[in-house]
Amino acid sequence: MSEHDEREIREALKQAFPPINRELGRDLWPAVLRKLAARPARPTRVPWYDWALIGVSAGVLLFFPQLILVFAYHL
């Protein structure tokens, strides 16, 4: 593929997709506020399965403390 190809495609695309108005016509803050009210934006939570994994791992280590050495070796 040559520079000529790229130039030709660039021109074809520019003609096929005429310039679009990039100016925002209205203030979007009220819409953002409505969305926040409808879907409260809480900071990202740790999913339940991560907590379950932590719980299972802690339980295993509690009953089989010698496994700590195995984990330490692999870390």
Partner: protein, 177 residues
């Protein structure tokens, strides 16, 4: 405490100031990619909502505009993946800003169809680089990738479009003869 620190702590007034300050820029970026003002407004609102949700991950000394552009680009990319090529073509023609006397309508439709048939990642890179002529560094930052990867995507997009347009032209020629 500065504005970005207050935003990271969840102060709604600080967030409002930032939305009002950056909404034009974010909208302008999204509309370049999706080329539909209504969709671009919705995605701009979604961008700020996601930013507020992820505010604890934002470092106050970081680049707010760059972070916004990255989230906006991902949302625009998701939108293009969901959009059917036929639907987008109709939308594009309906929202046409000015008719072009040089390029025939069928040819324009052919190019638009070929372009909308590209994978979304190639569409975004090609739109920003070839149609909007944004610098590769800026595109790479928005896509969260390297300049080399953006150049590769543009190269692939041009190669695919070249083939499709050649095919379209040869079909057109056969129909005319």
């Amino acid at each position: 405490m500065d504005l970005l620190q207050r935003f990271a702590l969840g102060e709604i007034d600080a967030f409002e100031t930032l939305v009002r300050q950056f909404q034009g820029e974010v909208y302008g970026w999204i509309v370049r990619v999706v080329r539909d003002p209504g969709v671009a407004e919705d995605l701009t609102v979604e961008t700020f909502w996601r930013m507020y949700r992820a505010r604890t991950q934002f470092r106050a000394e970081g680049n707010f505009a760059g972070w916004a552009r990255r989230i906006a680009t991902n949302l625009a990319l998701d939108h293009l993946k969901r959009r059917r090529p036929e639907q987008s073509l109709v939308d594009e023609l309906a929202g046409e800003a000015r008719p072009d006397p040089v390029l025939r309508r069928e040819m324009r439709e052919g190019i638009q169809r070929a372009f909308r048939g590209l994978p979304a990642k190639l569409q975004v890179a090609a739109t920003l680089a070839l149609v909007e002529e944004r610098p590769y560094e800026e595109i790479a930052e928005a896509l969260g990738t390297s300049v080399g990867a953006v150049k590769l995507r543009v190269f692939r997009a041009v190669r695919i479009l070249r083939k499709r347009l050649d095919r379209f032209r040869s079909q057109d020629l056969v129909e005319r003869t």
